[in-house]
Every structure is written in C-alpha cells, then in structure tokens.
C-alpha cells in the first residue's frame, strides 16, 4: 500500500497552481489528503502529477462576503468547526463538521476538499446543498461560480474540470432553525443515511449517488436507494424517515 510514482508540485501562489493544473496532463489537486492519499496508497488513483495546495496562504481564510461566509480551499475542517463567524452566521456548518470522521482527520481534511471529492455520503456536500451555497472554481480559462444545485453530478463526481481549482466555498447566512442528523455504523463513519435541514429546506445524503433536496412532508418520494450489505433499500428509506423527523423537530 504505497503510492505509485508521481511528480510533486508545491506552488506558492494560486496563479502558479492553476497554471500547473492547466499545463500538466493527469494532474490532481492535493488538499488535506484524507481521501486522496488513501486512494494513492491503494493505488486506486494514479495521477501523473500532484499539485499540493497546502502552501497557498491566500486560501486559508474564512471571511464574510455577500451575506454569507466564504471558506478558502486550505481551511481545515477542524478550523471551520470552531470558527466564530461560521458558528454565528452558518451554524449548520460546524454541526455538520462534527459528524465528519474524527477530530484527527478533521485537523488535516479541508472543507473544500470534501466538496470537491463529492462523496455521496458527505455531510458537507449536503450542507452546501441545503444552504444553497456556491463554490468558486478557477482555471487558466477564468473563474466561475457554481451553485450547489449544479455542482454535484454523481458518486465522487462534480462538474469541476481537471484543470480547475476550487478556490473557495460560500455558505449563505441562515437565521432559521438548522439541524443535521445521520446514522453511521461506527462513530465517525460515513453515513448510511443522513438529513440536513436549513429552515424549511431539507437535503438528504448517503441515499443516492449525490446529495438530494427533498420535501420535508414526503422525504422518501422518488428515492431508489441501492442495496448494500449493511443497508438494504428498505432500511435506508426507514432511516431517512427517522432522521428527517429528527431534524424537522429541531
């Protein structure tokens, strides 16, 4: 379980990073590495180049803009979890972060890395969706802002192009009740099913190939979960109802 050969790049600026991504074939961004490095160790990912963004001081900020909070690409999950601004303006995010893996993983994993990775059971992807947040992607071709509803495509698949760097995520401030609940086999595991709520918006995660918005009155409508050894479709639907009830009561 050792990574295959790759070339390593540690750009010092965002500009340098996107020019590397624009010029190198088969390059991958390395953020917290908490998903990418396991894939390398299993040799399930074999990128020719790694572009390590951890030295990009420009992307380490959490700041207020446009009636919400922006989180830079190198902000660790653990930092966001205790950030006063997020706690005040986007309290769902710290709640969601507490359900992501374990504290030690969150010390390294990034908020944006989680979004870019687009795991269907990711709490943060569901949070972005339910909050109607956006991400900013930059490449040599320019910058684009992508709404959460348009960002996730399928299992570990987003509309991000290989040459694009996700520079920050933006979460609108919320005033109403927020809640997130999930059911995982072990503490810290990816969820078998989860529900995130912001006001009267509801998102589900772990139940389809990407996070989904759902109707709080009939949350399982149209859901066709796949069958997995730890979770049959019926049990998953049952869990969705249990969890939605829980978040809607919050």
């Amino acid at each position: 379980m050792k990574p295959p050969v790759f070339e390593y790049h540690a750009p010092a600026s965002v500009g340098e990073a996107i020019s590397l991504l624009g010029s190198l074939a088969e390059a991958k961004v390395l953020a917290g590495g908490q998903s990418l490095v396991p894939l390398l160790n299993f040799r399930l990912a074999r990128p020719a180049h790694l572009v390590d963004i951890n030295r990009l001081a420009e992307l380490t900020k959490i700041y207020e803009r446009d009636g919400g909070v922006a989180v830079g690409a190198v902000v660790r999950q653990a930092e966001a979890e205790v950030d006063p601004l997020l706690r005040e303006r986007c309290p769902l995010l710290p709640l969601a972060l507490r359900l992501v893996a374990h504290p030690v993983i969150r010390n390294r994993g990034t908020v944006c890395g989680s979004l870019a990775h687009a795991d269907p059971a990711s709490e943060l992807c569901a949070a972005l969706l339910v909050l109607d947040g956006r991400v900013t992607a930059r490449s040599q071709r320019g910058e684009r802002v992508i709404a959460a509803a348009d960002f996730f495509r399928g299992t570990m698949d987003s509309v991000l192009e290989p040459d694009e760097l996700l520079t920050e995520a933006w979460f609108p401030a919320t005033a109403g009740p927020v809640a997130i609940a999930e059911e995982a086999r072990r503490h810290g595991d990816f969820a078998l099913a989860g529900a995130a709520r912001a006001g009267d918006r509801l998102a589900l995660f772990g139940v389809a190939t990407r996070p989904l918005l759902a109707d709080p009155a009939d949350p399982t409508r149209g859901l066709e979960p796949s069958s997995e050894p730890e979770c049959s479709p019926d049990f998953r639907l049952h869990l969705v109802k249990v969890l939605v009830e829980r978040v809607m009561q919050a």
Partner: protein, 776 residues
C-alpha cells in the same frame, strides 16, 4: 512458598519500553534490508496459463522476482500441521501457485527490491494469464458440490466425522418436547493491528540463518526452516520480537513469506524483509468462524435437555493446513457446562474458494456456545420458563468433576472437565447484574461457557540468577500483549524471593530458549507459568545447596527471601543471592565485582572438588511442564442488559457483567484486561465485523473503512466477578483465560436481542439492517 506476588495487581514490566516508543516490532528492525511484495491472485478460482515477470525483473531497483519455477521448494506442498486420522482429504497450498489458484489473495509471485515502493511497482508489472473457474463460496454451496474446489476431493469434503454419546435417536423419540433450529455463523477475522512481518539475515561466514517473525510460534518455524533448508537446527534462530497482537492467525505456519524471505536472504546474501500491508492481510491471512449447524433437540416438561443432535458444516476455505482443530473443538465442547446425556455430533469440513481458516480467539468455541445457549433459550421460550432456571436445571454440579463429555478433544484424548462450579458462576453473574432497568426494548442476555485451556504437549523455561543478583528467565512461547514479562516474573520472583523488577523475562527467542510449542489456546500461563515455577524452584533448591555450604547450615533450614538465602529464624545468617550466584561458579580468575570469593584459591568450607559431585556451575536451571493429555477447563457466565434502539436498531449496553473462573489468578489486572479485550472482540464479531465475499469469491470489504472494527464509542466497560476453583491438574492451580472474554458474547447478544425485540435470533453476526428486517 511465599505467595506475595502471585495474585497481586503488579503493574506491567514491559510497559515503559512500549510507552516510550522503544518497542521492537519486526518492521521496526532491519533497516536497509531488501523489501518485498507479492503478486496475489485476483481470482478466487482460476487456472494459471502463464506468468511473465520479464518487465518486473527489468525495473530498476528490482533484485529478484520468484515464481514457483524459480525456487527449489516451488512444487512442495506446505506442511499439514495437525494431521488427523479422520482428515481423509487434507490439502495444503504451495508456497507459490503455478497451476491453479484457489482463493483470491493466494500468492503467485514474490518480488524483492530495494524498497517496498519499488517492489509494489514491479508486482504491478508481473503479467499472469488466468482462466477463471467457477468459485465455491459459502459452506452451503460447498455442501451442494455443484463445483469442486479440489478436483480430487469428492463432495468438497475434507472430513466427515460423527461422534455419539448415549442413544440420541431413541431419546429424541421419547422426549416430550422436540425442537429444531438452523444456526449460522459467518466468516470473520482476527485482524491484529500489527499485520504480519518477516525479516531474515543469512550469515555466510557462520552459516547461520536468523529470522525475525511476527509469529505465535518461533520454535516451530525454526524446526521447519532447518528441515526445509537442510541446515542443522542449531544454525537457525527464530525470534518473535514484540508482536502487535496475534489472536490466533499468527500461529499458522508456514505462510509462503516465512519460506521465501529466508530463502531470498540466503540466495541474495543480503538481509530481506517483508512487511504485510492491511490489504493483503485481509485475504492472505487465515480467517475463521463460518459454520452452519442443524440442531435437533428433545427435552422434558421441566426443561431438562434429554438429547441433542447436531449436524454442522465448517467452512475450511481453500486448504486445511491446520487440520480439523476448529470443528473438533466445536464438537467436543458444544455441550458446554450442561449435562447432555444423549449427544450426537456430525461435522463435515468443507472446502470453499476463500482464504483458509485457522483458530481465531475462541476457535470453534463461540460456535458451540452459540448452539447450546440458543438451545437453552429455546427450551425456556417453549415451556414459558425463566431462562436462568432452565440453565440451573441442566448445569453440571460441583460434585460432578472430573466429568467426561464423551467426545474427543483437540489433543487426541477425551474431553474431560477437571473442575469448576457452574451454578455459582450463574448466581454471581445474576447477583452482580441486579434488577432489570425500567424502559422499553431492554433485553436480558445470558450465556454460559466452558473453555478447555492449557493443552500440551509441553512448554519449558530457563531461569538464571546473574552475578548481579538480577534474574533472567526465558521461555519459548512469544507474547502478543498478554503480559508474559510480568506474570512469569511474578511466578519466578515468588520462588526466588526477589522483587519482580529484578526479573527480566524473554519470550519467543530461540537463542534464549529453543524448545517449546507456541502461544495459542489460552495455554501460555498454564504451560509456561508452571514451567517457570519448576525452573525457578530448581534454582532455589540449588541456591540453598550452595549457600548451605557457606552458611554451614542444613539446606533444609534455608529459605529465599528479600534477595537473600537465609537461615530460617536467624536473621543474621544469610548470603545475598548475588553472592550465591558467584559461589555457584568456582573460578580460576577473579574479575572484580566480588567474584574473588569464588576462586579456587579461596579456602572452602568443605573438602573435595570445587564443583561438588553432580553439581553444574551457575545458578540456573531449566524446567518443563507437560500435562497428561487433558485440559484445564475454565468457565464463566456473561450477563447483560442491552437496549435496542427501536428506530435505528443500534445497541446500547446498560450493564455488562462477566463472572468467570480460570482457577488461581496470577495477576487480576492483566486477567481483567484480557477479558475486557475479549468481550470487545466478541461484540465486534457479533454486531460490526464480518467478511463479505461476493458470488465470485471476491472479498468486498477488505479495508478498515468497511470491515467495521469498533472504536471506543462502541464498546462498554465490563464489570467482572472472579471465582477461583483451582485446577487440580497443575501445581499452580491455574487455567487459561485468553479466550474467555470472546466465547459467549455472540450467544449472550442473541439472548439479549431476542429478549429486547421479541424476535428469534438464529444467526451471527447481526447488524441494524438485519434487526430491522427481522422485526418486519
């Protein structure tokens, strides 16, 4: 004998080294050695048409690539460790497969390179052409024999064994109540946190092979390597340094690497090391647990079990290197602590295209316990009786020992329980458990067990008092965390009247003690503990003889205490043990440090040769312990209150109690740690872990992300009650305890969940999903 340390909560002597990061696990050693990787079969069953290693060999940094054709033992079947007359169709794997692979993960080629990174690169380049064959995956499918795992093994059956006590058929026919159950356990694995590792060096000048191996049996590896490589066994040394957990699979030998790494070291003239990674550990290292039992039983109106007929199939995996041990143990001790007057058991050991099996903590016992305890609960349910009461009515009584079950035991003799008090264990457990808490969905779980421990043939120990007065002791069996360095030091310190800190124990190093069998079957404390006591006692006797001469006293009037040999009742007349050690070795030269008193030029208190007739120099002795066939039998009762969340079907332990009896306890702190750890492994195996093979024989969850080993959040604190009925079979009165925590957990959880949810439980492991289905 003074008993000041035996029974005390002595803190562990090995801890400080481990806590400071100074442990020495195999992969910590041998920096600069060549490193290796395997090419393993991706198919569960396939014919190999060709293997092409040209590209791999050409990769810079690659030193060698071995296939079966490249090694002298390529065609050799690996040894059958435990032959048995009823194992009619044993099959073992080859070191490297060259014509057929029979499980995904079976070794096909072996790469040696300058680093593990390069070795993995090269392994990726080895091209193997396979022709997939149909895979036989579950024991049920194997029993149908639509496809064969070994073309020359009819019905996929390695063995078909029946034993009977009494007359089951007529007792069943006469019984006023009769029930049937089909009880199924799935495959699982031990997964010690340190995977396996082997590091070998060949000293060409001395012609000496030294192998470090994360094994539970270095002495056996040594013997085997000597035979295989045609070396005198005195030129082979095998050391199990610190081992990061074993739990059974590290007793398996030979694994292909255990031959290939030393071979490569000898052939290449450089040290070679292989460290297994977690992914390969999942398929390359033996599994256990899968068994399906058809149970037919009859009982009377009072709930007394009259007859029990069990027919079960054991999933052996692709080969049977460990013989029939697992199903034999299930069959032998399935009746547990209960009197079963008419008992018949048949098992078939069936091949499947999965990783082979060998004992994993519990080793066939959890299965037997699951069956008999399910039977007890079924009787209670059928008759509307209290579950504890049904058990009480069937338990063996303290006066029944020794009690012969009438089945054959793993050592070839009969299973005979030596001692115990089962009704008292049940009472103690229920007393500590107390009344059931208020609330819905709360279940009481109850399960009792026996465990045959401390099987022979023997273990030995060497004890020596150094001239400093410090004591070194060694035994052949290695430790994987059971605290041998402490408990054996306690035994030795008691015999020699020294403090426990003055005793340093080495285990599992054939350079220090070349004889022995291994650490398994909860035998370490019984076997090596008694051997240590024997060796230390011989040292004490010798110390008295030597000191008697100098103290001008009768040896019988001497005692060892406080680091001295002294005349009983006259405190002034004593010799420090250090001095006795010096005196025990008559010298021609003095080296300072007090040994001038031992030179032959000193006046001696008695005439005659410096070394008395029949005496050997040095204050040291070797001792062995070898029981007559038969085991010590530990026993116990697990009881718990458990809440099942009615919505998520998670488990919440409200209270978990273990009452157990493992004879005399050397160190309660260590014992409790063993039990807590065992319970955790039991809970893990009952509700979290399983090995998920698909129809093609692919292991689908070969990672810690998907094989759900519990974290601290999933495991409760266990409360323990100790009962000590000393074993009459060994001088220390001890019985083994290593597996006691694990054995009854599945049975106990089934009982508790059944009570909480009111659904019948016939299988293990469970998970929330399954409980949801069962309650629909």
């Amino acid at each position: 004998m003074t008993t000041r340390l035996f029974g005390e909560r002595v803190q562990r002597l090995e801890d400080e080294r481990l806590l400071r990061g100074q442990g020495r696990y195999t992969d910590d050693l041998g920096n600069g050695a060549l490193e290796c990787a395997f090419v393993r079969s991706p198919f569960a069953h396939a014919r190999i048409h060709s293997i092409n290693a040209t590209a791999a060999r050409a990769l810079p940094g690659v030193v060698a690539v071995y296939t079966a054709a490249d090694v002298p033992f390529g065609d050799l079947d690996l040894p059958l460790l435990i032959p048995h007359p009823q194992l009619t169709h044993p099959r073992t794997q080859k070191c490297l497969a060259s014509s057929i692979v029979r499980y995904a993960g079976e070794a096909v080629a072996f790469v040696v390179a300058e680093s593990r990174y390069l070795a993995e690169d090269a392994a990726d380049l080895v091209e193997v052409e396979y022709e997939p064959l149909p895979a036989v995956v579950t024991p049920e499918r194997s029993a149908k024999a639509e496809n064969l795992v070994h073309a020359d093994v009819p019905a996929n059956s390695a063995a078909d064994v029946t034993q009977a006590v009494g007359d089951v058929d007529s007792a069943l026919a006469r019984a006023s109540h009769r029930l049937r159950r089909r009880l199924r356990l799935e495959r699982s694995a031990a997964q010690p946190l340190e995977a396996r590792a082997v590091w070998a060096r060949w000293d060409a000048v001395e012609g000496r092979l030294t192998v470090y191996d994360s094994t539970q049996s270095p002495t056996s590896i040594r013997g085997g390597l000597a035979v295989l490589f045609g070396l005198p066994e005195t030129s082979v040394e095998v050391i199990a340094p610190d081992v990061g957990g074993g739990f059974g699979p590290k007793i398996m030998l030979f694994n292909p690497d255990e031959l290939l790494v030393p071979y490569a070291a000898m052939k290449l003239g450089r040290p070679v090391k292989w460290t297994e990674d977690r992914r390969e550990h999942f398929t390359a290292v033996t599994h256990e647990r899968a068994q399906v039992h058809e149970v037919d039983f009859g009982f009377d109106d009072g709930g007394k079990l009259l007859a029990l007929d069990v027919d079960f199939i054991h999933d052996a995996g692709a080969y049977t290197p460990y013989g029939l041990i697992l199903p034999i143990i299930t069959a032998a001790q399935l009746p547990g602590p209960y009197r079963v007057p008419n008992y018949r058991v048949r098992f078939r050991d069936l091949y499947t295209n999965c990783t082979p099996t060998s004992p994993y903590r519990g080793a066939g016992r959890p299965h037997g316990c699951f069956v008999i305890e399910r039977v007890m609960d079924a009787i209670a349910a059928e008759l509307g009786l209290d579950r504890a009461e049904v058990r009480r009515r069937n338990l063996l009584q303290p006066g029944d020992f020794p009690y012969s079950v009438g089945t054959m035991w793993q050592d070839g003799g009969m299973a005979v329980y030596d001692s115990g008090d089962y009704p008292e264990l049940l009472r103690l457990a229920l007393e500590r458990l107390g009344p059931k808490p208020e609330g819905d969905n709360i279940g009481l779980g109850l399960a009792m067990y026996v465990e045959g421990t401390g099987v022979g043939p023997y273990e030995g120990a060497h004890v020596q008092v150094l001239v400093s007065g410090k004591v070194v002791a060694s035994t052949g069996i290695p430790t994987q965390g059971q605290g041998h360095a402490t408990v054996f030091a306690q035994v030795v310190a008691d015999e020699l009247g020294v403090s426990v800190e003055d005793v340093t124990v080495t285990s599992g190093d054939t350079r220090r003690f070349p004889w022995g069998v291994g650490t398994f079957a909860s035998r370490g404390a019984v076997m090596s503990g008694n051997a240590m006591a024997n060796a230390a006692r011989a040292v004490a006797e010798k110390a008295k003889r030597v000191a008697a001469e100098h103290l001008e006293a009768d040896a019988a009037d001497l005692e060892l205490a406080g680091g001295e040999v002294r005349v009983k009742g006259s405190p002034g007349r004593s010799l420090p043990l250090a001095v006795v050690s010096i005196l025990s070795n008559p010298l021609r030269y003095a080296f300072g440090g007090g040994d001038e008193i031992a030179t032959q030029f000193q006046p001696r208190p008695r005439p005659g040769p410096p070394l008395a007739e029949g005496e050997e120099p040095g204050l040291e002795a070797t001792g062995y312990y070898s029981p007559s066939p038969g085991s010590t039998w530990a026993g116990g009762c697990h009881a718990a209150y458990l809440r099942v969340d009615p919505k998520t079907y998670r488990l919440e332990f409200l209270k978990y109690v273990v009452a157990h009896d493992c004879g005399r306890v050397i160190n309660p702190m260590i014992l409790e740690g063993q039990i807590q750890g065992g319970v955790a492994q039991g809970i893990a195996g009952s509700f979290y872990e399983r090995l998920l093979y698909d129809e093609e024989g692919q292991l689908r969850n070969a990672s810690f992300m998907e094989f759900l080993m519990p974290y601290a959040t999933e495991i409760p604190d266990v409360e323990m009650v100790h009962l000590e009925t000393p074993s009459p079979l060994n001088p220390l009165g001890i019985k083994g305890a290593g597996e006691a925590g694990t054995i009854p957990v599945a049975a106990m959880l089934a009982s508790a969940i059944e009570d909480a949810l009111g659904v019948r439980i016939d299988e293990m492991p469970l998970n929330p999903n399954r409980l949801f289905e069962l309650t629909r």
